[in-house]
Amino acid sequence: MDEQLTRVAQTGDKRAFAEIYAYFAPRVKGFLMRGGTIEAEAEDLAQDVMVKVLRKAELFDPTKASAATWIFTIARNARIDAVRRAARPPLDGEDPALAPEEAPRADVLCELKERDQRIREALENLPLEQYDVMRLHFYHDEPHSAIADRLGLPLGTVKSRLRLAFEKFRKELGDHL
């Protein structure tokens, strides 16, 4: 998908965009619905996200993030913007200074792919109970107490599992770097 997105950025290739849309739009909608957003709202937000993906494609920097990560940050910000309509600190690739200037170098792309792979492995190596709370942490924007209710666990357990998950995840990544 990174290549398609790069093509959209460079030439506005509508066919490449249709491929990105086919893959990501339903996932963005599913992601939002898993997070408790009602369907009508998730539909609107998913469309907003895809509009932004198309408009901002030229800010996509394949040496910094994969298409999935980049689109995640757009979806995340869209969910935040749905709650408020003010400015948010730009650390989301929208800063024009972050836009790529030249064609990405193959070795940098390769490094990023490896990093993504390591991150996925680190995630998959988490104990299932830690993986589950971490996933809910990303799907939901509701307080941890609501996540605790959802899982039928005490709040303290959810918090400590999350902390363990983050630490194990970071340690695992560190071990591989």
Binding site: G12, A18, F24, A25, P26, R27, V28, K29, F31, M33, R34, A42, E43, A46, Q47, M50, L54, R55, E58, L59, A65, S66, A68, T69, I71, F72, T73, A75, R76, R79, I80, V83, R84, R85, A86, A87, R88, P89, P90, L91, E94, P96, A97, A99, R115, D116, I119, R120, L123, M134, H137, F138, D141, L162, R163, F166, E167, F169, R170, L173
Partner: protein, 218 residues
């Protein structure tokens, strides 16, 4: 660039990447990450986790006319890049904080709250409750020992302070839990300016309480 000694907790960085922080805390973390490459990288890693979860999410079909709709809405082809603010005194104007200031840190309208202590409350309450403010501590001024009612994030923008945890200089961030106590004292020759986010709006009963509560934990 890595003379930064104090960083946010891992869970705070993860919460930022997941979009879970209130706006006030998000500004403080973004400010730190704009200076700290280590934390910027950790945030990217957690965003990659978000990307992985996005890919794993069960797809739900959009309406039939959605693609057409998206293409039409995106069509004006206008690139919506927000204009850069004029760069006055770099690098502070590049900080995410600059969007919340009218001008630079030098133009802040300070309100004295105690001898050697002044503050300015910034408007960052649109997204989930949270309070963002700038605090200026005159050189040598020591704040009374105080604890925090809720979690609090502080990033140093100018000058330095020291407390029981250690010395905090520009870019350093204190990620305090509710109940942590400390006694910060501005050190060096210039005033220490910090950006502070409290997780929840503080409710004050009196003018004095309004001034003192955040610091003393009344």
């Amino acid at each position: 660039m890595s003379n930064i000694r104090h960083h946010p907790k891992t869970e705070t960085l993860a919460a930022f990447a997941a979009g879970r922080l209130d706006e006030a805390r998000a500004v403080v973390i973004a400010t730190h990450a704009a200076i700290c490459t280590e934390c910027a990288q950790a945030i990217e890693e957690f965003e990659t986790v978000g990307g992985a979860f996005l890919e794993d999410a069960e797809p739900v079909a959009l309406r039939d006319d959605a693609l057409e709709n998206v293409l039409r809405r995106a069509d004006p082809g206008v690139n919506v890049v927000t204009p850069q603010k004029p760069a006055g005194d770099l690098p502070e104007t590049r900080l995410p904080l600059s969007a919340y200031l009218e001008g630079s840190i030098d133009d802040v309208a300070w309100r004295a709250v105690a001898p050697g202590l002044s503050q300015s409350v910034l408007k960052a309450e649109g997204y989930r409750p949270g309070v963002l403010r700038l605090l200026k501590i005159a050189p040598g001024v020591r704040m009374p020992r105080h604890s925090h009612k809720g979690e609090e994030l502080t990033v140093i923008l100018r000058g330095a302070y020291k407390d029981e945890i250690g010395d905090f200089a520009v870019g350093d961030l204190a990620d305090l839990d509710a109940g942590d106590t400390h006694t910060p004292e501005a050190i060096g020759d210039e005033p220490c300016i910090c950006l502070i986010a409290a997780a929840a709006p503080l409710r004050f009963k009196t003018v004095l309480g309004r001034i003192v509560q955040p610091f003393i934990g009344l």
